[in-house]
């Protein structure tokens, strides 16, 4: 399976483990629930770990654990739910998470410009989306009025 990462279509090397699946010998992401109940076992499993966050999961509770993860996956159950846009920005700006931050699930091509601006660098859309055709949407706008994760200064400080 392929995803978009850092502006390119690449192979996905993470397995999103469900809560009742046996731990495999490969890089896995787990839900917040599984992380909370099996933290010690997961940490001794010897495989790279990632965390999957739903839009209503409490980021504040997990802040101390973020260093354990090589990837955080923001799950989009509904493309109209904008909470994860704030979570992404907080992860990058407040908690300093500098590894892969991935959007997964139900989001639109038309949202990936916004998602990339709040710090998401990888995209794993539902179903049969044509990833190559999605790529141009990352550059749909050349003008960014506000400071965000991608540009630290508002446009008025960059105007010439």
């Amino acid at each position: 399976m392929e995803i978009i990462k850092d502006g390119h279509v690449v192979t996905n090397d993470w397995r999103h483990l469900s809560d009742d699946e046996v731990l495999p010998e490969q890089a896995i992401t787990v839900s917040v629930q599984r992380w909370k109940s099996e933290k010690d076992r997961l940490l001794t499993g010897g495989v790279p770990l990632g965390l999957r966050l739903n839009s209503d999961d409490s980021l504040e509770e997990l802040a101390a654990d973020l260093g354990f993860f090589s990837i955080i996956v923001l799950e989009f159950r509904k493309f109209t739910d904008g909470r994860s846009f704030s979570l992404a920005r907080l992860l990058r700006e407040r908690y300093g998470f500098d590894r892969e931050l991935r959007a997964r699930g139900d989001f639109l091509r038309d949202q990936i410009f916004f998602l990339s601006r709040v710090g998401i660098n990888a995209f794993e859309p539902n179903g049969s989306a044509n990833l190559q055709e999605m790529l141009p949407a990352l550059q749909e706008f050349s003008v960014k009025y506000q400071a965000a994760v991608d540009v630290k200064e508002p446009l008025y400080r960059r105007r010439k």
């Binding site: 846009f85 038309d110 916004f114 009025y145 506000q146 508002p154 400080r157």
Partner: protein, 549 residues
């Protein structure tokens, strides 16, 4: 007014191109109805009863004459020859074809206009006082801040998929002409004890089916913190606002459920974490302020012969008294063009009227027009010496009905005639009430009365804050109307109280007339309608409208 530079222009061009692509994908079936919905709404495009409806932003109500000419062109070319000005300082076109909308947006972009965020669950068009910069009671012109917020909120990456729509209004005058207490965020320019000007921040006001008056969560915010504070409020709302029920998704419900103290605490905590990284430069405020400098006024004195002219012609005198207000610069006056001609849909303007108003703005008011939230137009900078001539011209256009602020200056949504949400017609009710007044003396005798009509509980006609509010309801397929009294959107903001059972379409105008009569019988000398309602309460009005039983 604000002038786009290359950045602003590029953005609206790119937005128009993006929407063309989205529309094409939808028409080809690559985007589903549900997927296209929020995308088209964020470009002001509804699918309405008869055709799509396109809502175009008029930021804080300011229009250049060339922009109004473009709106005339769009009305002529893509619509049925007219447009409808709304309470949101917007204009709506009711009949564009979906496949034409990308072209409309591209044409609008050539005159620095757009439809960005005029609908959808995002930060909407920022509204303000239509007398900004010219009124005598102003602490500071709010429009530079409106423009700063416009830029900050446009395509905001974090806040484009909020739980619900989000409305911000700013007022800089002593009198509140922007209904700041009835917005998700209201900003009132105030002075602190050290004589510095900043913002009082109100949150959680709003109309619709759960009308609530906003609460002050910060009595004084320094200007440099404007954007960080907004960002903090929006982030708290985006994360914790309800998404399970669209009727409970507005920030007013979050504020109510958490309580003002808890909500304020959350905003302040969020703000403390970001405020130092998100300072608004005072130089930027100055840069934007330069776009709102006063026009090149002539040095004049107030015009004494004007009194003579008003004495000579009683019709001109009535217009002067009701449709113009004082200006802060000697020798000038602010002119309202009434879009409330009896028998016409309130807020509508034809393409030829638009062209003519644009010409008048060029000749008499430095090429600028303003749109009010009461659905009228304003020429803000007219020389007193020109008033008689201007009046003759706008009379010929049918825009001189001398009724601003009176019972026939009705705020009215499009209602069942155009809107697919509506339960009842509203334009015919407005017209019916206007027809009570074949005698202007009777109208003037009633004084200032704000009548607001909505065709459904979504409240686009702001019925809950009308001195007299009328709400259309559906009863087994028939149109009925609920009446409220005592609402206000001004400094003394209040929500109207329900008078009693709803009345039928046949009875509604009679009921309104009975309310007028009750007021005439009960008022004390010089007492305005709203004051009388507040003093005597509902009972006398109920007796007159419903009889004794």
């Amino acid at each position: 007014m604000y002038q786009y530079d290359n950045y602003d222009q590029t953005l609206v061009n790119e937005r128009a191109a993006q929407f063309r692509n989205q529309t094409e994908r939808f028409l080809k079936g690559e985007l589903s109805e549900a997927q296209f919905l929020p995308l088209r709404l964020m470009n002001g495009l509804y699918v309405q009863k008869h055709a799509p409806m396109l809502r175009i932003a008029i930021p804080y109500g300011l229009l250049a004459s060339r922009q109004l000419r473009m709106l005339a062109h769009i009305a002529r070319t893509y619509d049925k020859g007219y447009g409808h000005f709304t309470t949101r300082q917007n204009i709506q076109f009711n009949w564009p074809k979906l496949e034409d909308v990308p072209n409309v947006l591209a044409e609008l972009a050539t005159v620095q206009m757009h439809a960005i965020q005029t609908s959808g669950n995002c930060i909407r068009n920022v509204t303000s006082d239509h007398l900004a910069g010219v009124s005598q009671d102003e602490l500071e012109d709010p429009r530079p801040y409106c423009e700063i917020i416009r830029q900050w909120s446009t395509l905001h990456p974090e806040f484009s998929f909020l739980p619900r729509k989000f409305k911000i209004a700013i007022n800089g005058a002593a009198k509140d002409r922007a209904a700041t207490q009835l917005h998700d965020i209201g900003l009132q320019l105030v002075k602190n004890e050290r004589d510095e000007v900043g913002f009082e921040v109100l949150v959680g006001g709003g109309l619709g089916r759960t009308p609530i008056i906003g609460v002050t969560i910060r009595p004084f915010l320094e200007k440099k913190h404007l954007l960080s504070y907004l960002e903090a409020i929006l982030r708290v709302y985006n994360r914790y606002g309800r998404r399970d029920n669209k009727f409970k998704a507005r920030i007013k419900i979050l504020v109510k459920e958490l309580g003002k103290e808890k909500f304020t605490e959350m905003v302040e905590a969020e703000w403390a974490a970001i405020k130092d990284n998100l300072l608004l430069d005072l130089e930027e405020i100055e840069r934007i302020r330069k776009f709102f400098q006063p026009p090149p006024y002539e040095t004049l004195t107030d015009d004494p012969p004007l009194l003579e002219k008003t004495a000579h012609d009683s019709r001109f005198a009535a217009w002067f008294r009701h449709n113009t207000v004082p200006h802060k610069v000697p020798g000038y006056r602010v002119v309202f063009l009434s879009l409330k001609t009896p028998g016409k849909p309130p807020g509508d303007l034809t393409e030829s009227q638009m062209d003519s108003v644009a010409d008048l703005a060029d000749r008499y008011s430095f090429g600028e027009i303003r749109v009010t939230h009461t659905q009228n137009l304003v020429l803000a900078d007219v020389k007193q010496a020109d008033l008689l001539e201007l009046w003759q011209e706008i009379q010929a256009l049918g825009l001189a009905t001398p009724n601003i602020g009176t019972a026939t200056d009705i705020i009215c949504c499009p209602g069942l005639d155009f809107c697919s949400l509506a339960n009842a017609t509203s334009i015919p009710i407005a017209n019916g009430i206007q027809h009570i007044f074949d005698n202007l003396d009777y109208l003037y005798d009633l004084g200032d009365i704000r009548i607001n009509i909505s065709g459904c509980m979504n409240g686009c006609g702001h019925h809950t804050v009308g001195h007299i509010g009328i709400l259309g309801v559906d009863k087994k397929g028939e149109e009925w109307y609920q009446i409220t009294l005592g609402g206000s959107s001004g400094k003394d903001a209040s929500l109207g109280e329900r008078l009693g059972p709803s009345v039928s379409k046949e009875q509604i105008c009679l009921a309104v007339e009975a309310i007028f009569q009750t007021y005439r019988d009960q008022r004390l000398e010089d007492e305005a309608f709203l004051e009388t309602v507040r003093r005597i309460g509902m009972r006398p009005f109920q007796e007159r409208v419903y009889g004794d039983n």
